[in-house]
């Protein structure tokens, strides 16, 4: 789960991380008042979940409360397009108004999971403001790393080692080391999967602050983090994905026109891959669960056909414990109940009782395009999508 910058900063502050002073608002008048409180100069920052906001024009400096009001009015409600939002952009509903600080240095720090080590790691680099992926590709040695023992957190000497590596000294190094331990503490305490500060600001006066903040969380741990779950902003998420979540379906919207419904995440990914291999474009990732219950199949089908961009549907189910003939009856039942389905539907069933399953499909009142293997299914659904209907 993702949250906004201003929410991440709230969490980080509660763990002792210094951030610029500021407040969140959705009102230009309020933006002007906050700017005045901050001394008449401020930064107006659009709050959307995607990164790259500065490049898209969502972060602006204002030299006066009047300018803050004007800038806020312009950014609020705009569709902000960044490299991470896709071409349709994301509507800006809130702004963070923060004090403008003098910048001596911009650094990068983050906490994330190192899968190979089986531990969280703190990463730091002097290339603040740059994407860490670019730094990693260009000069992997420029990224400093310290493994975190989950029960101990980032130890003081590890923080000092990183601070020294970033070229910091004196009181500033001490502040940076403390901030890094606080970041790791926040990561561990909230079941985060990422805490990223880019840039981490060093002021002319030697203070160290989180100028930006990004946090994402382990979805599997939200059940025990109600305070984090309360920060979820559904308006930032794809409405079809939100709908799918209500039925415990694993659904991700993509840009293609071939909807697919598959049981199991690995097989669902492989199905998308084979559609692409045969020249088609998947409209989504959808895992209805390994067992493919009739209820899950029905909800999934309703969701898929509600996507106006879809031209054909591929159902790929491997019947294991759940017998294929029973799954076939589930699919037929779902389509009958929905009624009025005009899209071509290719069904590929495999596994236990597969002959009986295919027979159920052949005898159904709805005309299914029955496929025998994954390759056959991909070929048929790509052709059906090109045909634009039946």
């Amino acid at each position: 789960m993702k949250i906004h910058e201003y929410q991440a900063k709230e969490i980080l502050r509660s763990h002792g991380v210094a951030t610029p002073r500021g407040r969140v608002t959705d009102d230009p008048e309020e933006a002007a008042r906050i700017c005045a409180e901050l001394g008449g100069r401020c930064v107006v920052k659009a709050q959307i979940h995607a990164g790259g906001r500065g490049k898209g024009g969502g972060v602006k400096l204002a030299g006066s409360p009047a300018e803050a009001r004007e800038t806020a009015g312009r950014i609020l409600g705009m569709r902000l397009v960044t490299p991470q939002t896709g071409p349709e952009g994301q509507v800006v509903r809130r702004l963070l108004i923060e004090e403008a600080l003098d910048i001596a240095r911009e650094l990068y720090v983050s906490v994330t999971l190192d899968r190979q080590a089986g531990k969280p790691i703190v990463m730091a680099s002097t290339a603040g403001g740059m994407e860490i992926e670019e730094v990693a590709a260009r000069d992997p040695g420029a990224i400093l790393r310290q493994e975190v023992e989950p029960l101990l957190g980032l130890l003081p000497f590890q923080g000092r080692t990183l601070a020294r590596g970033l070229g910091l000294g004196g009181a500033t190094a001490g502040k940076a080391a403390k901030l890094l331990s606080a970041l790791a503490a926040a990561y561990l305490a909230t079941d985060a999967s990422l805490v990223e500060i880019n840039p981490l600001l060093v002021t002319g006066g030697g203070d160290v602050l989180a100028l930006d903040a990004k946090m994402t969380f382990d979805d599997n741990a939200l059940f025990r983090r109600p305070e984090v779950l309360a920060m979820r902003d559904l308006a930032e998420e794809n409405p079809m994905e939100v709908e799918a979540g209500k039925y415990s379906l694993n659904y991700i919207k993509l840009d293609g026109n071939i909807a697919c419904m598959v049981n199991g995440a690995g097989l669902a990914m492989a199905t998308m891959d084979i559609i692409k291999l045969y020249g088609g474009e998947p409209a989504n990732f959808l895992d209805v669960g390994g067992g493919a219950s009739q209820e899950a199949v029905k909800n999934a089908f309703r969701l898929l056909v509600s996507d106006p961009g879809v031209r054909a549907v591929l159902i790929n189910i491997f019947g294991g414990i759940a017998r294929t003939d029973r799954i076939a009856r589930g699919v037929v039942g779902a389509i009958e109940e929905l009624g009025n389905v005009t899209l071509p539907v290719v069904v590929r069933l495999e596994g236990t009782n597969v002959e009986q399953g295919r027979e159920v499909l052949r005898q159904a009142p709805f005309h299914f395009i029955v496929a025998e293997q994954m390759a056959d299914a991909a070929e048929k659904v790509v052709a059906a999508a090109r045909g634009g209907g039946r």
């Binding site: 992926e133 999967s193 025990r224 199991g264 690995g266 492989a270 291999l277 495999e350 596994g351």
Partner: protein
């Protein structure tokens, strides 16, 4: 021969009194696994599976703890169906009781729980498989897991995979071509798991009857790259490889918690390139896993 699971396996099922636990305990027993005990705290002294239709095999005794089950039955392997908030504890209980093989089926365990579990398990003699996995099957001998037993057939191909139904797909292709399997191991779709590709590869390499390996990876992490490097240096029988998720957009978790391209790393293209460089038979199409293995074994 087979790895890890065979006729000597004596299975305890943790969480046996839950719906899934009961169903799969009986399905494993039906397949031929010796299911000797179940554990549900507070339900010790009861039995599971002595109802109609279990062919007079009698009930499976339920104990309050794994230690009690081990003392009473000599169980040496565990299968876990405990819900996610408590599954980490269940794994550690199994390890502490000295169970040699712990297979955790549960999906949805928090990563931070698994970090602690992994550290704990490292200090104990148990081998953990999973979590979030279909389990392990040695066809014709025994299975520990939720896979449909009858799609398998005994033979010489080892199968390793991060996913469930995609593994069944591969197995079914092999079976339909007459290629049986020695053991199939699902290592699970989570970012932190107990047994990795290399652990399984090493076990298959030590098994003279495993004549080739099908390895199915996914986007996310770098376990496949490490496995490919190990194969290049240590294994000369044929390995067929596939990576699911070529079309997955970056930054999105594709069902499995571990299947995510993050920070520009863990792409299918990188993994397939590493596998090719290591001499694996990499298939672009998941429909060709079986026939590619057949060709590799004949060639």
């Amino acid at each position: 021969m087979a790895i890890w699971v065979n006729g000597d396996t004596r299975l305890v099922v943790q969480g046996i009194t839950g719906k899934e636990g009961t169903f799969h305990a009986l399905a494993c027993r039906e397949y031929g696994t010796r299911v000797v005990a179940g554990v549900t705290p507070g339900k010790g002294g009861t039995t599971v599976g002595n109802a109609e239709g279990t062919e007079g095999k009698g009930g499976i005794p339920v104990y309050d703890s794994v230690a009690e089950a081990r003392a009473a039955t000599g169980c040496n392997a565990s299968m876990i169906f405990v819900p996610p908030p408590f599954a980490g504890d269940a794994i550690m209980e199994s390890a502490a009781a000295g169970i040699e093989l712990t297979v955790c089926i549960t999906e949805g365990i928090p990563v931070s729980d698994m970090l602690r579990v992994k550290a704990f398990v490292a200090d104990h003699p148990t081998r953990l498989i999973g979590p979030n996995c279909p389990g392990v099957i040695s066809p014709g001998m025994a299975k520990i897991g939720i896979m449909p037993g009858h799609i398998h057939r005994p033979g010489g191909v080892g199968v390793i995979s991060r996913s469930g139904t995609l593994t069944y797909e591969a197995v079914w292709q092999l079976t339909n071509l007459g290629l049986g399997q020695s053991t199939c191991v699902g290592i699970g779709g989570d970012p932190i798991n107990g047994t990795n590709f290399i652990d399984v590869l090493q076990a298959f390499a030590a098994d003279p009857e495993t004549v080739g390996i099908v390895m199915i990876g996914e986007i996310g992490g770098s376990a496949e790259e490490a496995a490919a490097a190990w194969i290049a240096a240590n294994y000369d029988r044929p390995v067929v490889g596939f990576i699911a998720g070529r079309t997955a957009p970056p930054g999105r978790r594709m069902g499995h918690a571990g299947a995510i391209v993050a920070g520009g790393r863990g792409t299918a293209a990188e993994k397939m390139a590493a596998m090719r460089a290591a001499g694996l038979h990499v298939v672009e199409s998941p429909a060709k896993l079986g026939e590619t293995m057949a060709r590799a074994l004949n060639g």
